[in-house]
Symmetry: C2
Subunit: 209 residues, 2 copies
DNA sequence: TGCGTAATACTCGTCTGCGAGTACTCGTAG
DNA sequence: CTACGAGTACTCGCAGACGAGTATTACGCA
């Protein structure tokens, strides 16, 4: 039980907003959304209330008041506690300081790319490349637009994302090059395997690693 | 309901092994583990049986026999169906062809790096850089060792991972550079904020984007 | 003034993921 | 020859995640 008391990243997001001022859950979601954080961490309504309740259970936030404002449903406003502040900082420290690498799904796909023939593989990789290009472009545009409005520090995540997107695009382009020019060794063996369904006779490679 | 009938990636892994020959769940896990796939997709025993059951429910695999071999607990052996084959290929196609980008936790950390002061940020980033270096090194070693034993095609995922790790390391190094040389604009405002806890007066940036 | 639609602020129940057990067996060191 | 630890092959139950629903109010507009 070395695990974080509240494991959901949404909890981190909640802490980050409630740090500024007390809020009720719905407002947290609204603020997060409006700041564009929901692009990185999609807000699930179902989880929000569970997560806030958990944060409360562990003493990271506490209920301040229950306002019956106008005729609207009753809202419970939460405030961050000192323990919550600590937890938040510590969490950020962990996130920044350690690479845990939840393995990207693309990697799983790559490791099984064999089942598609080379031709399908090429097609799919082209699609991916296109999407990566669009994503990079969108980030560049966002940066350009935001740069004059915000301190650099608040844009660093976008710069990072852009850098990584470009890196991936570069890699995919390189791999694609190898596939299309036929530079990748074993390309025809691959094609033969995919068409006939049978391996060449070099299967001894499974036992090791 | 556009979602995949069995959503868990572990399902993909199961399909990928059961494609070669019929197996019982425990054996699937063993094979996966022994091939080192468990580095990318940690096998959770709890999920394995649920996932296999689900695959069966949707007709992607079917039970072949229940062997009572020796005195061991009874094992149910599963075989892939044609539908399972299709599902598998389609899944791989999706994985390779579309970038869905489950947002890296590091990005979340970066977007909140403000709460750590610049000094702590620097420390943590140094740690990360070190870990990235180790990871890259490990991958390079693995590649060198495996290259003569396996066709290139089976190493492509590792090459990809290496490329991405290096890219991240490069980015972190660059950012760290800016922080340590003081090239990052607003660095002292940041330090002041962290020490005193109060913002400079430019808060108008929250409302837009 | 009446009506449809959007926004507000949740609640509920299902379904999944998975950690922690369980029970049996085999090899082997003493 | 027997006790013990490591492997084998699962089962169970709970905690969390999340979609879909609900009830109320505000607001545009014809």
């Amino acid at each position: 039980m070395k695990r974080r008391k509240v494991g959901n990243v949404l909890g981190l997001a909640v802490l980050s907003v409630v740090l500024e001022r007390p809020m009720h859950p719905y407002e947290m979601a609204a603020v997060l959304k409006q700041r564009g954080k929901d692009a990185d961490l999609p807000i699930k309504w179902g989880s929000l209330y569970t997560v806030v309740a958990n944060l409360e259970k562990h003493g990271f936030v506490e209920a301040v008041e229950s306002v019956k404002d106008g005729g609207r449903p009753e809202r419970t406003v939460y405030r961050i506690t000192p323990a919550g502040r600590d937890e938040f900082e510590d969490w950020v420290r962990e996130l920044v300081g350690t690479v845990d690498r939840e393995p990207p799904r693309f990697k799983a796909g790559l490791s099984m790319i064999g089942v598609l023939g080379p031709d399908q593989a090429i097609g799919r990789l082209r699609e991916r490349l296109e999407q990566l290009g669009a994503r990079a472009e969108a980030h560049r545009a966002a940066l350009e637009q935001l740069r004059p409005l915000m301190p650099r520090l608040f844009l660093v995540e976008v710069e990072y994302d852009l850098a990584m997107t470009e890196a991936e695009a570069r890699w995919v382009r390189g791999f694609l090059e190898e596939l299309t020019t036929g530079a990748l060794p074993g390309l025809d063996a691959w094609r033969r395997y995919h068409e006939t369904g049978e391996f060449p006779d070099d299967l001894g490679e499974f036992v090791e690693r």
